[in-house]
Symmetry: C2
Subunit: 896 residues, 2 copies
């Protein structure tokens, strides 16, 4: 049996996106719904794959095109390129995923030196005929033959100049006939061949050009960046032409079945009389609100309304459509499920539930965590008087206000005086890092979503607008100039909206997110439609999800907040955070201790402080598990900086003011200095090398838990050992800890069940998880370190240095620190889950890296069967939503 | 069916080591050979496992012991503890692997207050009877009841003091009877129970004590360190006592069937009249050479010779034995395959082949690469006049001579003036690292094979003797004092032998290794028996091995040497080594380049230099593959040190002598500074971020190959991309390289087949090897980086900081940088081999980390099916030998 390569629209349906592409599948769906779709057929992605593999279209495909073309001609009652009444077709690419960088459309195929006259005669409009022919040659030359479009544009400009005009409409039929001749000359000159007069040859060449465009460099790059498989191929749609530019009874428009900005019910769209789609895009004339069409052509308007209602009920979602009216007859050119804002997504999803179109499970698939996260950022108040200067690319969300500064040093300086600053640069590079850290937000005039500024800002969770190309940034002059001559000087206040990309002059008041206020408990669930929708969908996600959601928190205050946000415990309490600040001296003394006595003194001083820390957290999380990670700092975080100290000592010597304390300290810092602190004496290694350190922490935990329990509380401590690479490390610490837990239980007379488990953050731990599980009551993945070690790069060093290059080159689709690299690092996770549970059935497994709050990663963690994710308190609602969505999502689908 | 827990000696054989332990299996073997072995039986390791699991011996085991004891009594014609003629037995532990730290032996079980008189009467020697009883109580108290041995020693000393003597032999029967009473008192006081008079109770308690000793802390630690499984358990041997101390017609001895030092044929041993084994160990009297026995007791001597010949023919190897003569009757107490020196191992193995006892395959299993490596170190000349000061632990082999220095700073100072130094310390710590690097060798008076000094010296390949406890090191006084009052002061010449542990005063002349001279081609293969043996066995290994052996070499000189040593190409040519020295300025300019022009200028200057480098190496390796790794330095290796430069700038400022050049450079160094250079901008990342860098190297390789080929050579370049973590990285560099290779082929008119492959050194590369293989023509494992990233520790930082602690605690059996961690890192290797070959059948795979020359690791690489190993030229013969041994070794066995 030969493969079927071509589907008439009536033969397809929207389920065949893989084969027919998005556009083709939806055209088929509309055809089968009985909607007025121009005739046409779709050549499959499979044909494309065969073409690309063999360098030529399959023989049987050609025959099928012949057959389907004949059927189309019969259906339309015209023949392709017929001299007196030609059928014209458009050829449109249409892959499974919409893909900029591929050839998109060639219109008016079927016109040649003869049929152009037939078209003109049929339309009763010579100018229309020649203009259509001119457009065909231009598009064909550019997209099929690969001729630089400027040749055509220049020729058209010449023609206009000759007529003394700058408006296409002033060119008459005769002028356009001359342009056609010139264009044909360009084709011959530039491609070495004549413009093909045979309509079928035009069609075949256009189809092959669509196939070839699958491998155009920009398309390849886009696929790399978006992780779209390289071997899908594109479908090709061949559609009978209809014309919205045949007079004032014709026109073209776009519409949405609801408001895509707010989700409000009621259609929403634009209409342009006597125009084709490309004219709408070119923006030559202002469009009319769709409601005006009712006055212009009530029949068409009513038909359109009824179609839109039908489509929405059929697709059970907001649809956007493109349509054309040709001399009073409505044609549907495209539909798809429409894009919408985050707020609209929540509102529409619950509306559709109330309208009985979908159930709550389905509604969950219509929103996502990234949208919820967006709704949790503060925003600028919507009020009059905001002065927009420019709009760039929304690179990292949030609303930031500050004084404009133009270099990193100045940013640090002003920030040090307590001022808020916005760092403004043409583009950033690693030198700008200190300034980026000091700033409230970053604004650049160049670069896209993968530029250095964008990547680093997202990594820091800092507001960023990049690529605001309307701005002329003069770093030396410390000013930038906006498009309407607005000048902003150093120190002037500006406001940037990282969610929309808008730049404002002056201070725009910031309003807190009502969604956050709802989670905080200060706004009621029925305060407005958006909050009601969020409340309902998050609650439904909670009812479905299998993943628990905990928070990473090191203080009672954060723990309180996390609990309000819905955290079911603490997945990561980092004790090293408790060792900084005032206590740094004690820790320094501990590390530098020369004798057992000095060390013990330092430990004895720390223990009661640690105990109080834990009592507070156990109280905040009463009745819920609290996973406490024993100390895991790189050593140098507790010691003076080697370079600073060296400079101090050297300068003291050079100026004859010896500083013996500094000299002594320097010797110790030298001794403990590490080339690669990330790979040095950290975590369990420190615990094994500094006697008593982990023991002190375990004792503090045990006493704190006993104190809480005696006071009537319900503390649930879980002790977590960091950086374990071999089961022997864990066994040694575990043995020590168990002795201490028993001692405290005996001395206090209070027994608190305390789990002992381990981080899985060193690749070797994942690779030997079966052994490690024998000694661990739980696993918690530290996917940050696992990513750093698995890829062999440290976030601090490489994110700023080369991630933007890597994203641009398509090596990453997304930073592996943002979303877990499921192929590489995820494989370690999978191995550890499988083998850990095989060795210890029912082993409790969670994740406490930052990926725990990342939507894509949450789906992955659900799929591999983790028990919980733990993330920053702020991300808890996002994780709850995504954990529910993961249940209703199909296996393997992502969260976007 | 109940399990059989006890085997009479006649029921076992040497194949049952797992069940009967080494000692028991060999006693059984000798029994079945008809040799005069005292009667006895072995309780199995399985019984031990059951005992340890259940906390009591299995009921049926007790019954079996009863039965076998009866059989033994019948065989010996005496009953255990019989009042008039008691059978006495010894209880000896015997695990599969010899294990210090376990209870070893209790002698004379069966004696009590009554039977002691029977024994005395039978022996006709009261003193013998009471001394035997005294020994039983002492050993039983110490090893079975766990009483501190000092109690007994003090009591014995008291008795001697009372007699005014220091010699046991001056204590008469009556004195010893008093000692027995005192000892019984000690037992009662210390253990709270009477010394058991029931012989069977003595026996049962001793058996259980052996079982318990399996889990003694020192035994547990030893197993951890030696990677002996914790669940094997030990066997227990119960053997009828024979006495070598019944008069001058009795005695005891040890013997080897050949000289274990040189391998020379002919027996070799010691004999001590009227003594028991423990007396030989105590060294109270001087032993006689074995040949003397012929004069003392010709019959026994002849019988012994015949037995030894029989044993050697039976075991087909050098055996060592222990024997006792009781009143003119010879008894064999133990035999096993004997330990020998490296040289003896090679000589004996080939002798046995010539004697027709084994074939060459078997001979290969009798030697190993560690022995061959030992033979390749220079040694001290064997001549009169060497003054031995002390002997410590042979921690890292080699022969080093230098001036004694006592601290790190002084070592660096003297070394800087061109002097050779030996760093002498009580023990070393990370502070001593610079001095250790500066020194020829390291000598310490404390610490064992896993001490800091030993671990770090082995890591550096530097000679080290540690734990020379006879030395009294006075670091402040800058002297050390030897056992005979020898004083060595700072600056005095000393010589240390890291292969034997010997310390000499003065300069001992060093002689080069004859084995190396043979490989170098300056000594003939028949120069002496050792070289002939090495030649023959390495040649046999070559004929068997499936693994190729290449060398790591960056210069024509090293490449020449590697080829003489048998390397079949270069597996790793590190181009960063070519970038140091004079060219550092150019590289610095390249890295700091502000503009494309500056960068290109630096690249243009480097290209011809690189080209010459490669031409030389291709010439040395003509006709053999040369794998060239593109640049992979941590960035900071090419830049001035941040701290030094900061000090320079600060001091210049503080002293009002501004240094604008340094200020500018400092800014750049700051910009490029990395927290963790190991995890920073290295390898392929540098190649992707610095335009033209890798291209320049590829062009230099291509031109060098073309030049060689035009000159009639046969260059076989293989281009290797370092630090790849994702296939996309490789694809990008590969595309660039292929364009350049084509360009050079066209411009030079010479086509050189050039493979392009990748290092697998980042864990993620191993985890996604299936994808990477699509773009790689070969893989080469960089197991150093794979180990660093897989374990999450950097060698530089952690080896000195905590490896000795980790080895002591048994977390490692051996440093994972010495021998590949086959469980964790080896798993990554296995995954990459399997999935790489699945994606690209026949993919060529090698390893070029230092593990390529490590014996254990070579076996692993053979097992997982690599094509070749690559190691330093010096290790090439070792790798050849081990690659052959891997073929004849049983699956899963190690190389030791």
């Amino acid at each position: 049996m030969t493969t079927k390569y071509v589907y008439h629209f009536a033969e397809g349906n929207r389920g065949l996106k893989d084969l027919l592409g998005g556009k083709g599948a939806n055209l088929a769906e509309m055809t089968n719904l009985g909607l007025p779709v121009p005739g046409g057929f779709t050549i499959t992605t499979e044909a494309c794959r065969a073409y690309l593999a063999e360098g030529a279209e399959p023989k049987s495909m050609r025959d099928e095109v012949t057959e389907h073309l004949a059927r189309l001609e019969q259906q339309m009652g015209k023949n392709l390129g017929d001299p007196t009444d030609p059928l014209l077709v458009s050829v449109r690419s249409g892959a499974k995923f919409s893909m900029p960088g591929m050839m998109e459309t060639v219109l008016n195929i079927g016109l040649n030196d003869t049929s152009v006259r037939g078209l003109a005669a049929q339309a009763g409009n010579d100018r229309f005929g020649w203009d259509s022919y001119r457009r065909l040659i231009q598009m064909f030359g550019k997209t099929v033959l690969g001729i630089n479009g400027e040749h055509f544009e220049h020729a058209l400009d010449d023609a206009k100049r000759a007529k003394g005009t700058t408006n296409d409409l002033d060119l008459h039929a005769e002028d356009l006939r001359g342009v056609v001749e010139t264009f044909k000359g360009i084709i011959a000159d530039q491609s070495g061949r004549e413009f093909p007069q045979d309509p079928r040859e035009q069609l075949d060449l256009a189809i092959n050009a669509v196939f070839d465009s699958w491998n155009a460099p920009r398309a390849v790059l886009y696929r790399r960046q978006e992780r779209i498989p390289a071997d899908l191929g594109t479908a090709v749609n061949v559609v009978a032409m209809v014309f919205g530019n045949l007079g004032m009874d014709s026109g073209t428009g776009v519409a949405f079945t609801r408001d895509p900005a707010t989700g409000a019910q009621g259609v929403y769209g634009d209409y342009l009389q006597n125009a084709q789609g490309e004219d709408v895009v070119a923006g030559i004339r202002n469009t009319l609100p769709l409601a005006e069409l009712e006055k212009l052509d009530k029949a068409c308007y009513d038909q359109l309304m009824s179609i839109m209602e039908k489509l929405e009920r059929h697709y059970k979602d907001l649809c956007d459509i493109e349509f054309t009216i040709e001399r009073g007859k409505l044609w549907m050119l495209q539909t798809r499920v429409g894009k919408r804002t985050a707020a609209a997504a929540f509102v529409i999803a619950t509306q559709l539930v109330d309208e009985g179109l979908i159930d709550l499970d389905e509604a969950l698939t219509r929103v996502n965590g990234a949208q919820l996260a967006q709704l949790m950022f503060p925003t600028f108040e919507e009020e009059a008087g905001r002065e927009r200067i420019a709009t760039g690319i929304a690179a990292s969300p949030g609303a930031a206000v500050g004084h404009a500064v133009f270099d990193s040093a100045r940013a640090e300086e002003l920030a040090a005086t307590g001022q808020r600053v916005i760092l403004v640069r043409r583009e950033t590079n690693p030198d700008d890092l200190p300034g980026m850290i000091a700033a409230q937000g970053i604004l650049t005039s160049r670069g896209g979503k993968t530029s250095h500024a964008a990547v680093v800002a997202r990594g820091m969770g800092k507001t960023c607008v990049c690529g605001a190309e309307e701005l002329d940034v003069d770093v030396r002059g410390r000013t930038f100039v906006g498009p309407h001559g607005v000048v902003v000087k150093e120190g002037d206040l500006i406001s940037i909206d990282g969610t929309t990309g808008t730049v404002y002059s002056g201070e725009v008041p910031v309003q807190p997110s009502p969604v956050v206020q709802y989670f905080e408990g200060t706004l009621a669930a029925d305060a407005d439609p958006l909050i009601a929708a969020v409340h309902r969908l998050v609650a439904h996600a909670d009812s479905l999800r299998r993943l628990g959601v905990r928070a990473n928190s090191d203080t009672p205050e954060d723990s309180d907040r996390a609990r309000r946000f819905g955290a079911a415990g603490i997945g990561l309490c980092r004790t090293e955070h408790m060792f900084l600040g005032d206590r740094r001296q004690l820790v320094e003394a501990l590390i530098l201790a020369d004798s057992d006595e000095d060390r013990q003194r330092a430990l004895d001083a720390l223990e009661p402080l640690q105990r109080e820390d834990f009592i507070g957290i156990f109280a905040a999380m009463d009745g819920l598990p609290v996973t406490i990670r024993l100390l895991d700092p790189p050593l140098h975080e507790f010691l003076p900086d080697l370079t600073e100290l060296s400079v101090r000592v050297a300068v003291a010597e050079a100026t004859n003011r010896p500083d013996p304390d500094a000299v002594r300290l320097l010797a110790a810092v030298h001794r403990l200095h590490e080339q690669n602190p990330m790979l040095g004496l950290r975590g369990v290694r420190l615990g094994l090398v500094i006697p008593g350190l982990f023991g002190m922490q375990v004792r503090a935990i045990a006493h704190a838990a006993a104190a809480r329990k005696r006071a009537g509380g319900d503390p649930r401590p879980e002790i977590m050992i960091p950086l374990v690479g071999a089961v022997q490390e864990l066994e040694l610490i575990r043995d020590e800890a168990e002795v201490i837990l028993r001692e405290v239980a005996e001395s206090s007379g209070v027994e608190v069940r305390t789990l002992i488990g381990t981080m899985i953050e060193v690749p070797r731990a994942a690779l030997t998880a079966g052994q490690i599980a024998e000694a661990a009551e739980f696993f918690s993945f530290g996917t940050n370190d696992l990513t750093q070690m698995g890829w062999g790069f440290s976030r601090d060093d490489v994110e700023a240095a080369f991630f933007s290059a890597y994203l641009d080159k398509g090596i990453f689709g997304v930073s592996p620190f943002e979303s877990l690299d499921t192929e590489g690092i995820g494989r370690l996770v999978r191995i550890a889950v499988e083998e850990g549970r095989a060795a210890r059935p029912g082993l409790k497994i969670g994740v406490c890296g930052e990926h725990g709050g990342d939507p894509d990663s949450v789906h992955f963690f659900h799929r591999v069967g983790l028990d919980y994710v733990s993330c920053s308190p702020f991300r808890v609602p996002v994780a709850r939503l995504e954990a529910g969505r993961a249940v209703v999502s199909a296996e393997g689908s992502d969260s976007r």
